[in-house]
């Protein structure tokens, strides 16, 4: 069995969502700007291409198009069938930018349209696919409303939040979102996306990176901010059933963060009384991590000692990041881990985290 926890899907342009939007939003999508509404996006361009070149039609993709869509047939051919994937967790591409759009009301309506589109085009069509709801952290009440609108559907197994944000996700301003997730038993996936874009804070406090390669090396920084915020604000105490998965933030940095946070908690816990235990203790119970991009030290023997403190046999879930350029092929990824971890990482941890049903043999 194989569960791929990070498979990106997207539309070609926002116009593709028109049939799934309410009329006023459709009007804005069609008539804003010069030729329709655009989303805030990265100021860096990947110098050699955002996507695996065999995952889109090079000939028909419009000049300047950045993230060609992934229709279901292509995902079946290139991923689900090719690797015998049991379940794929579908994550957004450009739609992640709704969360960093200044106009929060518009963003909420776009989220609803995208979630409707995802449900009809992918999730209702492909039993191996499960979705994450795209919502508006910049408008937590609207996010909660969207979670309650669709979160009861079996096709949706969680809520997606990008690393780029205006306020760290542990802050009490996000409580409506956490409360709705707790009510529905849905986990939250925090995935690096759109740091330094739209209303999101800067990638780091060092100032704006000049190059894509700098951004992509640093992009986990936003996730680390959310990770620490969620732990320090006691989200897992206030909403005890909450589960969080950190996607595409790497693994090694989280180990160092946890060591440092546990040490700081000992001196500073009077400031954060809702965090009653050493923060790492909440992580083992409530937080999971995805493999991709699994760090690649020059001497691969250095990898396991650097990550074993994260208890990967309990916390690590395989992810490919298909169709992005840094795709991690499943067999190659799993081969780098001890045999005793592989069942857990390839599927068991994710099955449990997302509460996926055991597939019935054909």
């Amino acid at each position: 069995m194989l569960v791929d926890s990070d498979v990106h899907v997207g539309y070609e342009t926002l116009l593709d969502l028109c049939d799934y939007l309410d009329a006023p939003t459709r009007e804005l999508v069609e008539h804003s700007g010069t030729n329709g509404l655009g989303m805030p996006t990265y100021p860096w361009y990947h110098p050699t291409g955002w996507l695996r070149r065999d995952t889109y039609d090079v000939e028909t993709t419009a000049v300047g198009a950045q993230l060609p869509g992934q229709d279901l047939d292509r995902i079946r051919e290139k991923l689900l069938d090719a690797y015998d994937v049991t379940y794929a967790i579908l994550t957004p591409d450009e739609a992640a930018a709704f969360a960093v759009l200044p106009n929060a009301q518009l963003a909420a309506r776009l989220c609803s349209g995208y979630n409707n589109w995802l449900l009809e085009r992918y999730l209702e069509e492909e039993p191996r696919a499960r979705g994450l709801l795209v919502v508006t952290p910049q408008h937590p009440e609207a996010a909660a409303e969207e979670i309650r609108r669709l979160g009861h559907r079996d096709e949706f197994v969680g809520v997606f939040l990008p690393g780029g944000a205006r306020v760290p996700y542990g802050s009490p301003v996000h409580d409506p979102l956490w409360r709705a997730c707790a009510e529905l038993g849905l986990p939250v996936a925090v995935h690096t996306h759109f740091e330094g874009v739209g209303i999101a804070g800067p990638v780091t406090a060092a100032g704006y990176p000049d190059h894509y390669v700098e951004y992509h090396t640093l992009c986990g920084a936003g996730m680390y901010g959310h990770f620490v915020s969620i732990l320090c604000h006691g989200v897992f105490e206030r909403y005890p059933g909450t589960r969080v998965i950190m996607m595409e933030g790497g693994l090694v940095p989280f180990m160092g963060l946890l060591w440092r946070l546990d040490t700081n908690w000992r001196a500073c816990r009077s400031e954060i009384p809702y965090c009653r235990r050493p923060p790492s203790e909440y992580v083992w119970e409530h937080v999971r991590f995805t493999t991709q991009p699994l760090e690649e030290p020059a001497d691969d023997r250095l990898l396991l000692p650097a990550i074993e403190g994260l208890r990967p046999w309990d916390t690590l879930c395989y992810a490919s990041d298909y169709p992005h350029w840094d795709f991690d092929e499943p067999a190659q990824t799993l081969r780098r881990l001890p045999a005793s971890w592989r069942d857990a990482v390839s599927h068991a941890n994710a099955m449990s985290f997302y509460r996926l049903p055991t597939p019935v043999a054909a």
């Binding site: 000992r266 001196a267 500073c268 816990r269 009077s270 009384p273 809702y274 009653r276 050493p278």
Partner: protein, 125 residues
């Protein structure tokens, strides 16, 4: 022949530390800190088991902050001593480290004898 080191020290009860304060006494070669928590006296070694700091003589007696029934609240008054170096808290009554269950400050016996407080190097009952 050398005289054996004293195993106890006595201080007038009138000079015993009030709640929130500490009184350091020398017993033999050891520095022992006396505290009063909720009307009871306790004695701890003046040495932090984490990194050896002068825990009690240079630390602070504090009241913990906790969450009770979902609301912020204060814990038992003046029940903790906070290390001056890394700010780890220890329960005065038990010596237990509040942030690392593996650590405990050494405790000593202390009792009231008429108008005197008797601090001894024996293990508290």
């Amino acid at each position: 022949m050398t005289a054996s080191r004293p195993r106890e020290a006595r201080i007038p009860l009138a000079q015993a530390p009030p709640p929130g304060a500490v009184r350091i006494v020398e017993v033999g070669m050891r520095r022992v800190a006396v505290f009063c928590v909720d009307g009871r006296f306790h004695a701890l070694a003046d040495r932090c088991p984490h990194r050896g700091a002068p825990l009690c003589s240079r630390g602070q007696v504090v009241t913990g902050i906790e969450v009770r029934d979902g609301e912020l609240a204060t814990g038992p008054a003046n029940a903790l001593v906070r290390c001056p170096w890394h700010k780890w808290d220890f329960e005065i009554a038990t010596g237990r480290c509040a942030v690392d269950a593996r650590l405990r400050v050494r405790r000593y016996a202390v009792e009231v004898d008429d108008d005197q407080l008797v601090v001894s190097l024996s293990t508290p009952r």
